[in-house]
Symmetry: C2
DNA sequence: TATAAAAGTTAGCCTTGACTAATAATTGTA
DNA sequence: TACAATTATTAGTCAAGGCTAACTTTTATA
């Protein structure tokens, strides 16, 4: 952790040949892309949990561990441990044997995740991906799009929604 | 590992409300999306190593551990351990104190990864993402697009290349 | 050709995010 | 209200993918 420092993350122009390196893509800049990618990997699971907890609360009135486990396809033990982490991070409130609730911070993250998720699905649909595939692929892609890219997706979708 | 079985991975239609579940998005289907996503996370780092090794070989004639480390932004020790894993997986050939070479299988994976990487960048450019952001975001997104989505991207780019 | 610098290796540590198995608490039902 | 079924918790295990520090080998150069 603490491997990625946004301050030194200057976005990098593209290569010219087949490989990745050119005058614009120095080893250092490429390394910063990989660091950014590793950072995104770290937050992705947290985001999925929080978004799913919000979905359960909104759909069923509460988020029980057993339902979280069912929808994520993991065991209850895994959920239990992760909920403890989310609590530690002040994203949820949880008491033993009770269901899970979002803090204000958690709710905020959930809404943001949900919006990104939907933008990615919409973009995929607009460029011709079928609905089933769009929902499947968005589950991973959503975590790897920068705000800039999401904004571009949003505007592109708006222009091509017809 | 071995958590994702492509056979039972039926692609899933979308939700209707705000949350994720509807008649078409059952808990089971949503779980299969998450499993697919976890599977992609597992292979992503392997793909980055192999693609980078190919880049180094093509650009510099050989892939030395020190250069792999520099471009990935990790330590030499990390590269050493990972190269041992790649060798185990029959993706590279490597001897102590010598640089790393791709097996036929490794070269194949590298070419495929490279192509996906370029398709994703091209798609992002077409929908209005600037070049620097496109290269940064593609580093993560490239691993999370299904073949169906990549095909859609490819065709969309072809139609909108002008 | 010595010697210093650079590169590679190894051992040991850490966190994350899975798992199983055993146990405990809660909830539904006869 | 008992008791069974469901749900939650805890303890222990594991692999992946990072790290540092110490050491060895190779390579470059004085
Ligand atoms: Mn999501
Ligand atoms: Mn997701
Ligand atoms: Mn790539
Ligand atoms: Mn990548």
């Amino acid at each position: 952790m603490a491997d990625f420092d946004p301050a030194e993350d200057e976005l990098t122009p593209p290569p010219e040949g087949t490989g990745a390196i050119s005058a614009h893509m120095t080893p250092d800049r490429q390394a910063s892309h990989f660091k950014r990618a590793r950072h995104a990997r770290e937050t992705e699971i947290i985001e999925d949990y929080v978004e799913l907890i919000a979905d359960l609360i909104d759909e069923q009135g509460e988020a029980r561990a057993v339902d979280i486990a069912k929808r994520l396809g993991v065991t209850g033990a895994t959920v239990n441990k992760m909920v403890a982490r989310l609590k530690q991070m002040n994203l949820v409130n949880a008491e033993p044997y009770r269901s899970v609730f979002l803090t204000d911070e958690g709710r905020e993250m959930a809404e943001a995740s949900r919006e990104r998720h939907h933008i990615v699905v919409a973009l995929l649909r607009v460029v011709g991906v079928d609905e089933a595939t769009a929902w499947a692929d968005a589950e991973g892609m959503e975590h790897r799009c920068s705000p800039e890219t999401l904004m571009a997706f949003k505007e592109f979708v708006k222009r091509h929604k017809s």
